[in-house]
Amino acid sequence: MGGRIETREVEQVARLARLELSAEEKERMREQLDRILGYIDKLRRLDTEGVPPTSHAVPMVNVMREDEPRPCLPPQEMLANAPDRSGDFFRVPRIIED
């Protein structure tokens, strides 16, 4: 066991997941993910050749709604939980590309 996931990968995944981790957290995370992935590795022993994937436990198809407008919620309700707002807009800090 061990060595399945490196610190560099932890950092990359944290960036994808938008999680700021301290150096200490990163190391703990690396260690724990490594153990969990070690356990999960047992799946390799199971032959799944030709087995289709299941993404829905109960197979259903073609669930749709008619194209009919329904009432919206008023802006004051939709913005009631906003951490920051300007008028009826949500307000966010400076946008940069990652």
Binding site: L16, R18, S55, H56, M60, V61, N62, V63, M64, R65, E66, D67, E68, P69, R70, P71, C72, L73, P74, P75, M78, L79, S86, G87, D88, F89, F90, R91, V92, P93, R94, I95, E97, D98
Partner: protein
């Protein structure tokens, strides 16, 4: 600008996002109207609130199928939605419900006219997804300290159509988009309004030496919001790449943003920062399995499309290809033409008047303006009937057209009220001609001395005296007769 095609072949692929003209959003019942007050058209679903769930809009799927069939695509027997993950503050869930491995439709083509020749551009796939919200920057994107988010647009149905890299020039890219837009307008699935963002285009472009077997490194260009910008951006980018290649540099695979104000593209993000979208099947939705019968029902209901209508206009009305091309740009314009021709059976006359007068007042691709035109097809036909039977002259007709456009009245009303009926009566016109000859001895003298052009000035005087109502050919023959008798 030097032509990059001298040494290199330009290879372009286009991705078009079209907003579908549904009444409600892709996955919730909020309306899709443009220009509503901020955050007034949202609900827990399209604002990505905890606990909310999407439900597929049936009409959006129908519109997708309709378009796929018009593009000759194979509609997949089974398709599903997937989540595409990336963080951006205009995207409420920080994933977009889109389609990935199993899109709605694949493998079609779109025919366009290149140098008067039909050309087919292959379409790779067509899928449905949801739009994101809208950002307003306090300042520009670069200088803003904060941005504002409006989720009204979030969840509006989008149809993404990806072409194969079959497009071979920036002009052809613009032609592809024009043809693409025309089909969507004919189908009634999109309003085609580029300023409001109903139609958006991303392009990828690469260059390769003529005859090279492999494609060059491609660059993706975003933010192309008009046909003109698509062409300009691609022209700029083709040149930039060619110059780089000529200098022996390698093209970097990247995403570039088109800056219309500066007329150039600039780096947005490089390949090393390429997104890892982590697609997986959307567990909140179930797959779509469209039966053959339901697809065939949509096919049977397809309207006549631009290419077919263009051919029919040439065949049925004897129009030149140029006229047919122009008049079939939008379904509304072609409908207008056919409605007018039904009233007054002079196809070329109607075509001439639409091209020279109507389309001077109304942009050819603006269906809304055409629908709101003060001159209806019936009114135009009424006017042209008066021209065709000689009641009014062409010159008078142009004035009448303008008056009709301003007032919305029909031609007969204006002609009757203003006494504009053409005078073709020989006796009445003869008296006017005599008067003009007497009043213009100098011109008569010039004519006698062999200056035949003087006759033109005399015709003008007759027209002036009759306020343009005189039949020009009657005036000509009268003048000729009287002058030779002098």
């Amino acid at each position: 600008m030097t032509d990059p095609s001298a040494a290199y072949e330009v290879v372009i692929g286009l991705e078009v996002h079209a907003q579908l003209r549904t009444r409600s959003k892709m996955f919730c019942g909020c309306p899709t109207a443009f220009g509503a007050p901020p955050n007034s058209q949202t609900c827990p679903v399209c604002q990505g609130m905890p606990g909310s769930l999407p439900v597929i809009n049936r009409r959006a799927v129908e519109f997708g199928v309709r378009t796929a069939l018009a593009f000759h695509c194979r509609v997949n027997a089974s398709c599903r939605f997937a989540r595409k993950h990336y963080y951006y503050p205009d995207m409420p869930k920080n994933y977009q419900i889109s389609q990935y491995e199993e899109p709605l439709a694949e493998d079609g083509w779109l025919e366009l006219q290149a140098d008067g020749q039909p050309r087919r551009i292959a379409i790779q796939r067509l899928h449905l997804e949801e739009d994101v919200g809208r950002l307003i920057h306090e300042g520009t994107l670069e200088t803003a300290h904060a941005s504002l988010v409006d989720f009204n647009r979030s969840g509006v149905p989008l149809m993404e159509t990806v072409s194969q890299p079959d497009v071979r020039s920036p002009e052809e890219a613009a032609a592809y988009l024009r043809a693409f837009r025309a089909v969507l307008l004919y189908l009634g699935v999109c309003d085609g309004n580029m300023e409001e963002g109903s139609l958006r285009c991303d392009a990828n472009i690469s260059l390769r030496r003529w005859g090279a077997p492999d494609l060059g490194t491609k660059v993706e260009i975003k933010n192309l919001n008009s046909f003109k910008n698509v062409q300009r951006a691609l022209e700029f980018e083709a040149l930039r790449q060619r110059e780089a290649l000529d200098r022996g540099e390698r093209i970097v695979q990247e995403t570039r943003l088109w800056d219309a104000d500066r007329g150039r593209t600039r780096t947005m993000r490089g390949k090393e920062q390429a997104h890892d979208y982590r697609y997986f099947p959307e567990p909140d939705l179930v797959p779509l399995e469209l039966s053959r019968a339901s697809v065939e029902a949509v096919r049977a209901d397809l309207p006549e499309l631009p290419a077919a209508r263009r051919q029919r206009f040439v065949r049925e009305y004897g129009l030149p290809t140029y006229d047919a091309d122009l008049l079939t740009q939008t379904r509304a314009l072609a409908d207008y033409y056919e409605a007018a021709v039904r009233e007054v059976p002079h196809p070329k006359l109607v075509s001439n008047w639409m091209m020279s007068e109507l389309l001077r007042a109304i942009p050819a691709d603006d269906e809304r303006a055409l629908a709101a035109s003060p001159i209806s097809p019936r009114h135009l036909a009424g006017l042209l009937r008066l021209v065709a039977d000689g009641t009014i002259t062409g010159k008078i007709a142009k004035d009448v057209f303008e008056k009709m456009f301003r007032s919305g009245e029909d031609a007969l009303t204006i002609v009757g009220r203003e006494g504009l009926t053409q005078i073709a009566d020989t006796a009445a016109l003869g008296a006017v001609v005599d008067q003009v000859l007497r009043a213009n001895p100098k011109a008569v003298e010039d004519w006698r001395r062999g200056k035949k052009a003087a006759a033109g000035a005399l015709v003008g005087q007759v027209m002036k005296a009759t306020q343009g109502k005189a039949n020009p050919s009657v005036v000509n023959s009268l003048l000729e007769a009287k002058l030779s008798q002098l």
